[in-house]
Structure formats: structure tokens, C-alpha cells
């Protein structure tokens, strides 16, 4: 499994505030970090999502967080939009990915593409 990923951000304060709000329904909170350098969000003990202050222009990235239900996809979308995200795909099925794929996509303050997904796979 993926343990952690780091995303560059253009304004660490702005992004921390954004993710603190957007992650509320998921329960992810800042676990540690360093002012003006980076912050690490604890993903419920199952990994870290880290944001760090970039110095130079950077490429947009994509990450998807797994959630427990379709309702959670909607909750995340609503909260992220209230936190200032830009819509990048309304909550809904994406059967072209997998038969039970249900997800939404938002752009964070730097236009990183953030997804939450609920899916059912055999053997899971």
C-alpha cells in the first residue's frame, strides 16, 4: 500500500487551511510538520498526505482517497467546495473505471486534482 505522498503547494498556509476544512468529513488531521516547510496529515493511521511549500512552479498532481460509502463521497465534495475548491467532477458513478466506482473530483487551491472514491472490489 501507499504509505505517503507529498504534494507541492504555492502557499502552505492557504493549502493547510483548505485541507483542514476539506478533510473534516474524513477525519484527517495535521499530525506534524514545520511552519513554512511542510505539514503531514495523518490518514487515520493508514498513511500520510503531505503538503510542502514549493519554491518553483510545479506540475499538478492527482491523488484519490478511499472512503467508506457513497455518502462520504458527497460529504467530502460538499465540504471541499465550501472550503474553496473548484469542481472537477461531481459525485457520481464512474462505471467506465470499474463497475461500482463512485467518486468525485475537486481542484485544490493549486489545482491539484483531489478525488474521493468508494468502490467495491472482489476479495476486498
Amino acid at each position: 500500500m501507499i504509505d505517503h505522498v507529498e504534494f507541492p503547494v504555492s502557499d502552505l498556509k492557504v493549502s493547510r487551511a483548505f485541507y483542514e476544512k476539506a478533510f473534516l468529513p474524513l477525519g484527517f488531521k495535521v499530525a506534524f510538520g514545520q511552519v513554512d516547510k511542510f505539514w503531514a496529515f495523518d490518514l487515520a493511521g493508514k498513511g500520510l498526505f503531505e503538503i510542502y511549500q514549493a519554491k518553483d512552479p510545479f506540475t499538478k498532481m492527482h491523488i484519490a482517497f478511499r472512503v467508506k460509502s457513497r455518502d462520504s463521497v458527497h460529504e467530502f465534495y460538499k465540504t471541499a467546495m465550501e472550503a474553496g475548491a473548484e469542481d472537477n467532477g461531481l459525485p457520481g458513478p464512474r462505471p467506465n473505471y470499474t463497475p461500482n466506482y463512485y467518486a468525485c473530483f475537486v481542484l485544490d487551491p493549486d489545482k491539484h486534482n483531489i478525488e474521493t472514491v468508494h468502490d467495491k472490489w472482489e476479495n476486498e
Binding site: 500500500m1 501507499i2 504509505d3 505522498v5 493511521g45 498513511g47 512552479p57 484519490a64 476486498e124
Partner: protein, 169 residues
């Protein structure tokens, strides 16, 4: 080729000019405290993606480098759906969680760490990745400045993405 990340602390981060401070003891002890009120799924990061310049080369690299940690290439997206770019996903069967897609590599290079369940697997990942053409970016060993049981190894993939395997003890 073989470019090193500029600053002294090459291990983990593209963004840290120096090693990040160790998390406070309270944080170390609290790993997982949030688990009670949230999700039960094993994974929280469902998937992420890096962009690679040479699809065939990177696909082969990751097939070999990630083999010791139980990862396989599980899904390849037909080019008619990708605008011609090579795209495939690796993971522990059945589901991929790490995708590569062909294009202009991310700048700065991406850092992704995979969690494994033993020091041995960290060592094996490192060996396999070196054999597959990866560049050393931090040999297998303890990283007590992260937390006291942290054991990791760091490799640069063919584009310089910083790939880690970590065992948390």
C-alpha cells in the same frame, strides 16, 4: 541521468531544505488515534499517479522494483482511451494504487512511499530497484529522525522520482 536532488538531505523530500524535525513524542504515540472515529478500510490512499518520460522503460522498472513488495502491473489502459499515452497501474492484486502515465515528468519529481511489513522487504525493494536501473537515494536503514522504528530505503526511478519503501516497525 542519475541527477541527485540538490540539497544535502536527499532521502525523503523534494521540498525540505533540511531534515524535518522528528515528530513530537505525543505524535509518535498517537499514530492511528484517529482511526476510531473514521473509516475501516485498510487503505486511505486509494491511488496516485506519476508522469514518466519513457513509458516502456518505467513500466519495466516498476515491474521489477516493486515485485519484492508484492506489486504487479495490474491494469493497462488501452491507448485509444488515453490519447495515445501509455498508462498502467501497479498494486497488490486485485487493485492497482500506483499509476504511471506517459508524458512530461512531474516537476519537481514526485515522492511516493510504499508501506511494507518487514525490514527484509525494504532491503529487497532496494536491491531489486537498483538491479532494475534505479539510482540510490538513501540506503536501507533506520531513519530515527522520522520515528524510532522507521526503516526505509530510497530510490530514484528512471525520471528521478523519489520512491521509497518503509517499514514502520
Amino acid at each position: 541521468m542519475g541527477k541527485r536532488i540538490k540539497h544535502e538531505f536527499t532521502d525523503r523530500s523534494l521540498g525540505y531544505p533540511t531534515a524535518p524535525p522528528p515528530p513530537p513524542k505525543s505524535v509518535q504515540r498517537s499514530r492511528g488515534i484517529f482511526a476510531s472515529n473514521v473509516l475501516k478500510e485498510e487503505k486511505m490512499i486509494d491511488h496516485t499517479e506519476v508522469t514518466v518520460s519513457n513509458y516502456k522503460k518505467s513500466k519495466l522498472f516498476y515491474e521489477n522494483a516493486l515485485k519484492p513488495i508484492g506489486y504487479k502491473m495490474l491494469m493497462e489502459i488501452p491507448k485509444e482511451y488515453t490519447g495515445g499515452a501509455g498508462v498502467c497501474g501497479f498494486g497488490e492484486p486485485p487493485k492497482p494504487d500506483f499509476w504511471i502515465s506517459e508524458g512530461t515528468p512531474n516537476k519537481p519529481h514526485v515522492h511516493v512511499a510504499f508501506r511494507v511489513d518487514s525490514q527484509k522487504k525494504v532491503d529487497e525493494f532496494y536491491q531489486a530497484a537498483i538491479m532494475a536501473g534505479g539510482k540510490d537515494n538513501g540506503k536501507p536503514g533506520p531513519r530515527p529522525h522520522y520515528h524510532e522504528k522507521y526503516y526505509g530505503a530510497f530510490i530514484l526511478d528512471p525520471d528521478g522520482h523519489n520512491i521509497e519503501a518503509v517499514f514502520h516497525g
